[in-house]
Symmetry: C2
Subunit: 523 residues, 2 copies
């Protein structure tokens, strides 16, 4: 495929007149061809009506048909992988190796949901047989399944041009659930979005599905993005990005005549707790591991470790991490704007009373590659300075020195919701670690031991989510097979004649779904 | 137990000075003793802090311990059943038989969740074993379970003083999930709330649980109710009541620094579709069944059938239903205010252009027992008059005459979200019924055939929920075992040492939970 510089509305390419954008190579400043035109609200209306028209047909497809469709998307992306990766490198400044891995992850994510469809547990089929002889009144035949919510709006993310964008986790899980998808392409990687959008669109055709199952629009977020979320045909929203943009979408969704769920993954500083015994036993490895996690991909991960709790008397970890960081060159950030926000965040942190610099790396001039930085403070300052919990997107971290178990617990209690919390502990730290686990459970979506939060497995057990403001809805995840639950709701069928029951609920169980029958699982 | 006319804050009775209320017997106008004093925001703060203090201890209880606690509540309610029912009759005007049944339902609902806890499927345990030899990188040991959200605010409902109030479905499901509960008692049945609240509070003590697991406050909804929903320690809200009150709670919850989920069940007119063949085959029984469902409990059910689609040429059904209705006396409504709202709604409906009266029953003077009413209109009027979709709480219904399948489908598409849709169809109507099923699925939470929507089974398969404005969140139900999912969220545990894993995730599976291990169910 070649890049086609326009929106895709239900398999039709549509140029617009509401502005334009070009990709920019953040490592060189080069403005990339072609020019992508922006569509207006009318195009969003078209996409939304097409999605609505496709909905009943699409949601009636069998698990196997939908799984095969997701696999076609994965295959199409892989077949065009070289071109997609090469364009994504230009548009994002991310290294080839990283994007090669991300493309594989994106394809495997689609296949994970194909597997989920074939397993069918998410359909949550429950059957209670009629009890004609129950007293005082007979019990009806009752059955329950989950049905998809309706067309979903997905917002591509800048930091994962593949895994969280056009055919990323939100799109994969919504399509798996049976929801048509309209993607608002991220303007930082329009060429990548175009290529991947075509891969999805081709799969729609190959699978024989209605054209409205997938659309992708280029436009200004404040115009077409908001219009999309406000559109009556849209029934849920998936978003990964800044807290400001996420909150704006939440407000729009809540103000609709019919409010809809917004799944916004927004900001997290991913606390790490280092316990004394683990620290003495492995100080150098811990410092190296931390700096590697902090600076990987220029720190542009949702799970980047931005806050590290170390014992107050530590000198070694701060010194070793500082020394390792000092050696490092900055890496190109995704866009000049993101780089500028990073600089402002670092400057704000540097000017915060009670915060002092530990170390910084080397800026690489002219490449939007600012220096990674490490600061330190104490728990009292952390507790009294809510601004210290604002995410600085990039390779910036804050060491927080804690005095004792009570001081650590109190500092952890002061934290907002997070995606992850990491614990560095060995056997001798076990009781101290045990005492903070209930706090961490209340604060985060994923707790990990003796590792670093970057590096997100895509499987049945991941939770990439957490309490506000990490996400807008802690009841779910945006990565992993559980994400399909975001786009479903239960429906009950009472005394519906056998001939009219949907396949999922028929006695013969033609889709071989796991079922709860009269209270027994998989009966 | 005797009625204690004060709030219960973590097992302590607390009188207030922020106003007062007394029960009123709507059938007689008698003002009932004693006087219940209202507490202020400080008491809410106390209850919320006590709930928070209890949360970690309570959520760590075993499924068996929590099940036994729910069973104690059920037993305490049944032991005091005679007094509770007698007081509820006085405060609600509902008949003894109805409230006797409702008390049994309330106790059985608590036992349903005890069963859910022992089954354990809602903990959604998933385990992915470590893969130390995976390339390019080893896979960590990962486990996932659901944990409770935190303290829950529950608003008692006027129309079910037992099953949707102090120890009703919201309380039962939140306690089952591991969430402490603070009930805002409904001021229409303060004595009933007091007795049931004491039954719960006694169970907290008998089960040896922290006192903050349960509190109940008396106060003005606009003051303590709003304060409760805005309180930072409250993490979710359960509500059944009017659309206006539900929307106000949704706004408050969305405007918090940390937005929280609100499960508000608000309004539904529960469409019924009568197909021609079913109508000719059983016209009299249909008309009788409809009028029975419409007028039962003075029509004060969330699932009351307020909209009935009949073939345009029907004369028999309207005539038979009208004749049956005309015979009926009005029944006492829950409060004088509800009765007055009903009268206003009927008056608005009577004055709507295109709507004509079919029949009305007999008002019973001086007993807040207004006449049940039946109106009729056509689909064009329904489509062009959104006000016709506003619920009139009580025994008022609107027949809508449809011309053909397309006209019916178009009218159904014009409906807002509903709790239920009922279909009266026999074998000859099967294809017509099939054609509207996808529409009904998109509009409602429960579809039932050849029955009436009043009469809600409390089991694994019920959905008492539906798209907005029937509820604020279609992804769940407020009745049945699935309701426990409202108060949970997933947490992932990565490489957490075996000794620190919660019981639910331990290899030995001490709680015998169903599990998904490496993708296989119940492995």
């Amino acid at each position: 495929m070649t890049i086609i510089a326009s929106s895709i509305i239900a398999r039709e390419h549509l140029a617009g007149t509401a502005g334009a954008v070009q990709g920019i190579n953040p490592a060189t400043g080069e403005v990339l061809e072609p020019v992508f035109t922006f569509v207006d609200e009318n195009a969003v209306d078209q996409a939304a009506e097409a999605a609505w028209a496709a909905f009943d047909t699409y949601r009636a497809t069998s698990p196997e048909a939908r799984a095969a469709f997701l696999e076609l998307i994965a295959r199409n992306i892989e077949q065009d992988g070289e071109r997609i990766i090469s364009r994504a490198v230009q548009e994002s400044g991310l290294p080839l190796g990283r994007l090669t891995g991300e493309l594989g992850r994106t394809a495997n994510q689609l296949r994970l949901f194909a597997g989920e469809l074939r397993l069918g547990a998410h359909q949550e089929v429950r059957i209670n047989a009629a009890q004609p002889n129950r007293t005082p009144a007979p019990a009806p035949d009752m059955r329950q399944r989950q049905i998809p919510l309706g067309p979903v709006a997905v917002f591509g993310a800048s930091n994962f041009p593949l895994a969280f964008s056009t055919a990323g986790g939100d799109t994969a899980s919504a399509l798996a659930a049976g929801c048509p998808v309209i993607v608002k392409a991220h303007n930082a990687h329009p060429g990548t979005a175009s290529l991947v959008g075509q891969a999805v669109s081709a799969a729609v055709k190959e699978a024989g599905l209605p054209a409205g199952v997938f659309s992708q629009v280029f436009g200004a977020g404040s115009a077409v993005g908001q219009h999309l979320v406000a559109h009556p045909r849209i029934k849920a929203v998936g978003f990964t990005g800044s807290q400001g943009a996420g909150l704006a979408l939440m407000r729009t969704a809540a103000a609709r005549p019919e409010p809809i769920p917004v799944y916004a993954e927004m900001s997290s500083i991913n606390p790490v707790v280092v316990f004394p015994s683990a620290l003495s036993a492995g100080m150098t490895a811990l410092a190296t591991g931390f700096v590697g996690s902090l600076t990987m991909g220029s720190g542009q991960f949702c799970t980047n470790p931005g806050l590290v709790f170390v014992p107050a008397n530590d000198q070694g970890f701060a010194a070793a991490a500082g020394a390792a960081l000092q050696e490092l060159n900055g890496q190109t950030m995704l866009t000049p704007g993101i780089c500028e926000s990073y600089r402002q965040g670092v400057s704000r942190l540097a000017g915060t009373p009670g915060v002092s610099a530990v170390s910084e790396g080397q800026e690489v001039a002219g490449k939007n590659a600012p220096a990674p930085v490490l600061f330190q403070t104490d728990t009292a300052t952390l507790r009294s300075t809510p601004d210290l919990q604002e995410e600085i997107f990039g390779s910036a971290a804050l060491l927080v020195r804690y005095n004792d178990a009570a001081d650590l617990a109190s500092a952890l209690e002061s934290l907002q919701g997070q995606l992850t919390a990491s614990v560095q502990a060995n056997d001798e730290d076990a009781e101290a670690a045990r005492s903070i686990l209930p706090i961490l459970e209340r604060k985060v979506g994923r707790i990990l031991f003796n590792g670093w939060p970057t590096g997100v497995e895509v499987n049945d057990t991941i939770v990439h989510g957490g309490p506000f403001p990490a996400t807008s809805d802690s009841r779910t995840t945006s990565v992993g097979s559980l994400a399909i639950y975001r786009f479903q709701r239960p429906v009950s069928y009472q005394n519906v004649p056998a001939a009219l029951l949907p396949e999922a609920l028929q006695d013969a169980n033609p889709w071989s779904l796991p079922r709860r029958i009269d209270g027994a699982l998989n009966a």
